[in-house]
């Protein structure tokens, strides 16, 4: 390993070693990461001088798990979904987080009461509530427009390619909703072998019309490029494409799927203290409300709700575009994290086989 040593010396000497005051934060990329950079990272760097390296991943939970299992952790903080937060915490891969370390609301309400139900986990703290919806290109449908979750699967009435996340999570629930299963029963049905068969049978009906996406930034792009006429997507990304770029997209809220995104710190994070400091900073009332200025996701604190106002362009009222707006919640499905923590592996296997077959 002599070569290695020489090279290391050369590289350190030429000044490429990382400085200690940096945090590696992994998130989902695109306009969502941008909203975090604007609302959290920039003010934090200004306040503490700690530089934040923002890293994109399709799903930050996977590089986090890979790094901890390979014993090679460089991530300090990751933005992950609720089911992944529970699963990774179960497997002992995350640092526990004490709710008492989080700042109280401006009126003094302790954090543990200020966060909405389920937002505080043993090893993770939620920042936003987001929705998976489907959106279509309004220029592609001259007559009747899609308005129900079932329309996504109706290729006769609404011909054209569809974009869909290349994962069983959300696709299977969506298929069952479209097949007429009431939102409240979706996970009960999906828990039975017949229910899984039923979901896959429904997906079969559009299999040949699907363009699969993997990163959250892809669906608005697929719509804009005309590769698909409608696609599932995270509501905030579609909102930004409409608000910022004036794209002719329309969100269908029927059957939306609601979930949390949470900050989590991997076991063995290189800058644990700074990561905890950042976590507390970014989940205070003002910061969470600020993020809504940049993307249409609901803050996870009750006290932030009243601070949410206009979009960063100063014109659009954000409240109607939030996934938590009651008008948008008809027939909505709230993610059952326990279900996915338990069934992720087997349903992924089945999904892969289905995809390849």
């Amino acid at each position: 390993m002599k070569t290695t040593l020489i090279l290391t010396t050369a590289l350190v000497a030429s000044g490429f070693a990382a400085s200690a005051q940096e945090l590696n934060v992994v998130s989902w990329g695109g306009s969502y990461t941008k909203s975090q950079v604007e609302a959290y990272h920039k003010p934090f760097t200004e306040m503490t001088g700690i530089k934040i390296n923002s890293i994109d991943a399709d799903n930050p939970a996977t590089p986090l798990k890979t790094q901890v299992e390979a014993g090679n952790v460089t991530i300090d903080l990751a933005d992950i979904e609720l089911s992944d937060a529970i699963r990774l915490c179960d497997e002992g891969l995350l640092e526990p987080i004490d709710p008492a370390s989080l700042p109280p609301a401006p009126d003094g309400t302790p954090a543990i009461e200020d966060f909405v139900d389920g937002a505080l986990q043993d090893c993770a703290v939620a920042t936003i509530v987001w929705g998976t919806i489907y959106a279509y290109d309004t220029t592609k449908f001259t007559g009747e427009k899609p308005s129900k979750i079932g329309d996504f699967f109706d290729t006769e009435k609404f011909p054209g390619k569809r974009g869909l996340l290349k994962a069983p999570k959300r696709s299977l629930e969506m298929a069952l909703l479209a097949d007429g299963v009431p939102a409240a029963e979706v996970y009960d049905v999906l828990g039975t072998p017949e229910g899984v068969d039923r979901a896959f049978a429904k997906l079969d009906t559009i299999k040949n019309d699907v363009v699969w996406w993997e990163a959250g930034a892809q669906p608005p792009q697929l719509l804009a490029d005309g590769e698909v006429v409608m696609t599932t997507a995270y509501n905030g990304r579609i909102f930004n494409a409409i608000a910022d770029e004036g794209k002719p997209f329309q969100i269908v809220w029927d059957g939306q799927y609601i979930d949390f995104d949470l900050w989590a710190i991997p076991k063995g994070a290189p800058n644990l203290e700074a990561a905890k400091q950042f976590l507390a900073f970014s989940t205070d009332t003002q910061r969470l409300a600020d993020q809504a200025k940049w993307i249409a996701y609901g803050p996870a604190r009750k006290s932030s709700a009243s601070l949410v106002g206009l979009y960063q362009d100063g014109k659009i009222e954000m409240a109607p575009h939030m996934p938590t707006n009651p008008d948008n919640m008809t027939n909505s499905l709230v993610n059952d994290p326990e279900f996915w923590a338990d069934h992720d592996v087997e349903l992924n296997e089945r999904f892969n086989a289905w995809l390849a077959g």
């Binding site: 996977t62 497997e91 390619k161 005309g226 592996v345 089945r350 289905w354 390849a356």
Partner: protein, 416 residues
């Protein structure tokens, strides 16, 4: 003869034979010393890493570490023993330990690989482990009846040995039933054999396409005067030197629904605005882009075989009355066979392991086995299965490589 050689001596009086052997030995050592640094470098940074990775395909200690009591029980009681209270007691003790160590998830995942749907069995039972009281059999069966399933115990016994062939079975869509006999997995879970078959089929197709496209231009290049063929050769070499990602990007730009090819077809009136062809995010995309990327690897060996073929042979055949087709088929083609063999093998070997291009333009049905290895490496994190799939792919590639060495010879590998 032997006697005379033995008597010959060098100037300083040593027998010639031993002096010769000595100097040859020295030359051999010197040659070896020149190669040694690189050889050890490749060994350390390439061969050993791959070996270590492959080792994971037969070695997975997740369950043995999480369930030491069960491992002991399986050791003491041979296969076929009655699953008695002692076994359930060992299981309960392990579940309690898993709760404290937070290992129920990984232990459950390991069992889940061989018996789908059982991960939640472990996490759920571990959550309630503190309340488990003897008799453990009844207590566990009350949590979930599956704990009494002989299949589960068969799978746990197999996982209780860290050395295992289970992952190679899984990589071939095989599993064991509750008696331990090898059977196929359920139809709706079969994926790997299909993907291996598709990988080889698509690679074969791409190799065929490359051959069909490369043959005419290699022939043209070989028969043109050197100055002009060198100029045209640049058209073959430039793609070869251009970044793989650049070429893939170009194909994405060309093949998109709103891309150049579709736009040209629409503006020429060949396609209607609604009739745009889907050429990307499917097999078509993978085939077109990979054929383009691998084409130079076919042209170059063909060219180097065709160039020295004297044109007089074909002319002679013609003058002897052969039609141009006969002359080509009987005289020219047989002489190009070594080039065809070299090019086809090389393209096939490279195609079988392709990852980047199918990942970007392949959609769902244009994925190859490499993409599935990447999936298990980066997403599902079933590293042992990824290693087993990699082991099978590697075996296939090495067999082809051996064939290449036998047929073509590694020395004849040329670049540009």
């Amino acid at each position: 003869m032997t006697d005379t050689t033995a008597l010959l001596t060098t100037a300083d009086g040593k027998p010639l034979k031993s002096a010769l052997a000595k100097s040859q030995g020295r030359a051999r050592r010197r040659a070896f010393l020149l190669v040694a640094p690189l050889f050890f470098f490749v060994l350390l940074t390439f061969i050993i890493p791959i070996g270590q990775m492959l080792f994971q395909s037969v070695y997975n200690p997740t369950f043995t570490q999480a369930a030491p009591n069960l491992v002991r029980w399986f050791d003491e009681n041979p296969a076929g023993s009655q699953i008695d209270e002692a076994a359930f007691a060992a299981l309960a003790a392990d579940l309690k330990q898993m709760k404290t160590d937070k290992t129920a998830g990984s232990a459950g995942t390991r069992i889940n690989y061989d018996m789908p749907g059982t991960r939640s069995l472990f996490t759920a039972a571990a959550r309630k482990a503190d309340k488990l009281e003897p008799p453990y059999r009844e207590a566990l069966l009350e949590i979930d009846k599956t704990w009494g399933d002989p299949m589960l115990w068969r799978v746990m016994r197999s996982a209780a040995s860290a050395l295992t062939a289970d992952f190679y079975l899984a990589a071939l869509d095989l599993t064991r039933d509750d008696t331990g006999a090898i059977i196929s997995v359920a139809q709706d879970r079969q994926v790997y054999v299909t993907l291996f078959a598709r990988t080889f089929l698509l690679s074969g197709l791409i190799t065929g396409l490359c051959l069909v496209l490369a043959f005419p231009i290699a022939h043209l290049l070989a028969t043109l005067p050197l100055a002009r063929s060198n100029l045209l050769m640049i058209l073959v070499l430039l793609p070869f030197w251009t970044s793989l990602l650049v070429r893939t990007t170009s194909w994405m730009v060309l093949l998109q629904g709103q891309g150049v090819v579709n736009n040209v077809l629409v503006s020429l009136g060949i396609l209607g605005e609604d009739g745009r062809i889907q050429m990307m995010y499917n097999q078509t995309g993978t085939i077109i882009a990979m054929t383009h990327i691998l084409l130079p690897f076919m042209v170059l060996p063909l060219y180097s075989v065709m160039r020295p073929i004297p044109p007089s042979y074909v002319r002679a055949a013609r003058s002897l009355g052969a039609s141009s087709w006969t002359a080509f088929r009987r005289v020219y083609l047989p002489q190009t066979l070594p080039g065809i063999g070299a090019g086809a093998l090389l393209v096939f070997i490279l195609a079988v392991g392709y990852y980047i291009t199918p990942a970007l333009v392949g959609g769902a049905d244009g994925q190859l086995i490499s993409n599935l290895i990447a999936f298990h490496m980066q997403k599902s994190l079933n590293w042992s299965l990824a290693a087993a799939l990699a082991g099978l792919l590697l075996a296939a590639v090495l067999a082809l490589y051996w064939l290449y060495d036998r047929v073509v010879g590694i020395d004849n590998l040329k670049l540009g």
